[in-house]
Amino acid sequence: MPGSCEAAITLTGDLHARPAGSLAVMAAKFQSVVELTVGVHTADAKSVLAVMGLGATRGQQITVRAAGPDAAEAVTALIGVLAEATPVGG
């Protein structure tokens, strides 16, 4: 059943290159279209360069939005990566 899902998290660290890579690798495992929104900017979560281009920093809210057959799983997985990866930085 195709569906859509979204969740938001406040970044506890800057969204550096390494967490951007982890996010894109995770997002690509899902069939759903997955987008990240920070402020007025939205990026395809499967594109590491687009994710880095968001320039998201600590304290900003980032919204994960997915649409497709595994939307809920994708959002849960990406929120998990965001919660885990951002304090490490790099």
Binding site: A17, R18, A20, G21, S22, A24, V25, M26, A27, A28, K29, K46, S47, V48, L49, A50, M52, G53, G55, G90
Partner: protein
């Protein structure tokens, strides 16, 4: 998907240090599950390209799913083309028309996620359109 071989990445540069450094950056961002082979410099370590180094890198990087090659500039492209014209490799080998650093990072991430040669090539080439700022 995680059990399957990943597409390998070959970075061809006039400088051994540039190829190696780009491989290190891409490997860090890609999470370390992809083989990235650096083929930089001439056979004696100078600035230039070496068909023998590129050949070894392609053989090393091919884990069974094929290889995407990113050249830096000019004669890197000619060297890769000369190699591909004279030699058959086991798996598919594609030459990417992409910015070197951004293409290497995007290609590595797509390979790490289990993308095939076509998907990895596309990710590298789409890096041209990514805005940095």
């Amino acid at each position: 998907m995680s059990d399957e071989a990943r597409v390998g990445i070959v970075l061809v540069s006039h400088s051994a240090a540039l190829a190696q450094g780009t491989a290190e950056v891409a490997g860090q961002i890609g999470g370390g599950s992809v083989v990235i082979a650096a083929a930089g410099g001439t056979d004696d370590g100078g600035i230039g390209t070496s068909i023998a180094r590129v050949r070894r890198a392609v053989q090393y990087a091919d884990a069974g799913a094929g290889v995407v090659i990113l050249p830096d500039l000019g004669s890197s492209v000619l060297t890769v083309r000369a190699l591909l014209a004279e030699e058959e490799f086991d798996g598919p080998v594609a030459l990417a028309d992409a910015p070197f650093v951004e293409g290497a990072v995007a290609a590595t991430v797509t390979a790490a996620a289990g993308g095939d040669v076509k998907a990895v090539l596309q990710a590298a080439e789409e890096a041209r359109h990514a805005r940095k700022l």
